[in-house]
């Protein structure tokens, strides 16, 4: 299964240029509220992520982890509060000195800084692998088709898929598809990468190849990562900080070694124990 070679760190660092950030906080949630009907999922949530920081979000099902990433990716709209990315407000813009809800144009400019990889890959099945990765850079970064494809090729080689440029997603294994999805997100040169349970839909033997790619990216770039995962080993290796969520609130947060070995809250302890039993 591991015929695909894993890229070396230097090449990755060069291919994935993450522009340095002047902001002190790369992501900031400010009293963010999110409801689905009567279900209040996030109740004035505050947290922030520093540039280059890797955080892992854990917590029981329904605690709002996915919702947080989707709010940041602007797939969902917040019902209250503000979200800042790299010093810019994502949810509001300034019109004549007054703060108004952000319009599509404003959202598009801030959204450029964010990328996301989904649990279900969500590759475009009508496009070959190369075009999946090159399409957005052509239309959103203004690259020529040739430039975009050259860069897409490079990225795909770095995730070990240099031989699959002309395949359709349906011809790939889940692990390969997810690596394409990672390359596709990176091709837009985001400063923040959201990863929502990116190995949960994979057969167990395919999990490692995807996590290896992510480890490499984490080791060789300054990209800020928000990661929802149940892979405790990966979370420990990669993340600087783990946030434990329950019912849309942060129960506790700490460095992974601390949180996984000496959790302070009963809620965290039960959650981690249940997780261990599952695996």
């Amino acid at each position: 299964m591991h015929a695909d070679k894993v890229a070396d760190t230097e090449k990755l660092a060069k291919a994935i240029r993450v522009e340095p950030s002047a902001a002190r906080e790369m992501v900031r949630f400010d009293k963010v509220v999110k409801r689905f009907g009567d279900n209040v999922v996030l109740r004035e949530l505050d947290f922030h992520v520093r540039p280059g920081e890797r955080i892992t979000l854990i917590g029981p099902s329904g605690s709002g982890k996915t919702t947080i990433l989707r709010l940041l990716m602007t797939i969902e709209k917040a019902d209250g509060g503000k979200i800042h990315v790299d010093g810019e407000c994502l949810t509001h813009s300034n019109r004549g000195g007054r703060e108004v809800p952000a319009d599509e144009k404003h959202i598009r400019t801030v959204r450029k800084k964010i990328g996301m990889v989904f649990q279900q890959f969500n590759l475009f099945p009508n496009m070959k692998v190369l075009r999946n990765v090159a399409e957005a850079p052509v239309h959103c970064l203004g690259l020529s088709r040739g430039e975009a494809e050259a860069r897409a090729t490079e990225l795909l080689e770095l995730v070990g898929l240099g031989a699959k440029l002309d395949a359709y997603p349906s011809q790939l294994s889940g692990g390969q598809q997810q690596r394409v999805a990672i390359a596709r997100a990176l091709a837009m040169q985001p400063k923040v990468l959201c990863l929502d349970e990116v190995t949960s839909a994979l057969d167990p033997e395919l999990v490692a190849e995807v996590l290896d790619v992510l480890r490499n990216i984490a080791a060789s770039t300054d990209i800020t990562m928000l990661c929802v995962t149940h892979e405790m080993k990966f979370a420990r290796d990669v993340s600087d900080r783990v946030l434990m969520f329950d019912q849309g609130q942060i129960v506790e947060e700490a460095a992974p070694d601390k949180l996984f070995t000496q959790p302070e809250h009963q809620r965290t302890r039960t959650f981690l124990r249940a997780l261990l039993e599952e695996h």
Binding site: M73, I75, R108, F118, F124, N126, A136, H139, C140, A185
Partner: protein, 216 residues
């Protein structure tokens, strides 16, 4: 009344010329229905509520009134408003617009069949909406609805005799003319039926094949 073969061979060329008109009307009408149906489907998803409501009302109105009435309107009423259309032009517009209300439903189903994750991935890549439609949504939605669209083309083909009511010399009009000249209707009308069958049967089989290809 016995089948007259000599008469049959005499009238066949005229009927075939009628068939050509029938096929032309179907093809042009189909193009109108395909394009306008897609426009209707997209307008009904517009973010602007008035656009959605007006389009919905127009589509509902056209779908709920008989095609023949619409053809009469185009051919007999529009001239009094200063717009004179040939029978053929009025016919293909009438057919196309009427069937566009059906094809718009087909497109709608196809568009809704594209998983939400595709929209979400496109958002995550910051693709502009118009680009999402062209590169992601429609290329996935349209192949799946080709069989349904094909069925409407065949249905339209079988409705073209209505155009005889607005002076278009399609196959049925030709047959009626021949019959009234010779007082023999058996051969021309039988031939009309056979010729319709000859075209629509292979067409149906093709659609059936498409259905199997895209059935998943």
């Amino acid at each position: 009344m016995i089948w007259d073969w000599d008469y049959t061979w005499d009238i066949l060329p005229d009927l075939l010329r009628g068939l050509v008109v029938t096929v032309q009307a179907t093809l042009v009408g189909s193009v109108v229905a395909m394009v306008l149906g897609l426009v209707f489907a997209l307008l009904r998803r517009s973010r602007a509520t008035p656009v959605r409501v007006v389009t919905g009302a127009v589509v509902e109105f056209i779908r709920s009134t008989p095609l023949l009435v619409q053809l009469y309107f185009l051919f007999f009423v529009l001239p009094s408003l200063g717009i004179t259309l040939s029978g053929f032009l009025a016919g293909v517009i009438g057919l196309g617009v009427h069937y566009a209300t059906y094809t718009s439903e087909v497109y709608r189903a196809g568009i809704e069949g594209v998983p939400r994750g595709q929209w979400e991935a496109a958002t995550a890549l910051n693709l502009p909406t118009s680009r999402v439609w062209r590169s992601v949504i429609l290329p996935q939605a349209i192949p799946r609805v080709l069989p349904a669209l094909g069925n409407y083309v065949i249905a339209m083909f079988k409705e073209t005799p209505l155009l005889s009511a607005i002076t278009v010399l399609e196959m049925l009009a030709v047959a009626k003319g021949l019959g009234s000249q010779t007082f023999r209707y058996l051969e021309p009308l039988t031939l009309v039926g056979l010729l319709f069958l000859l075209v629509s049967l292979p067409a149906s089989l093709t659609v059936r094949r498409l259905e199997r290809r895209y059935a998943r």
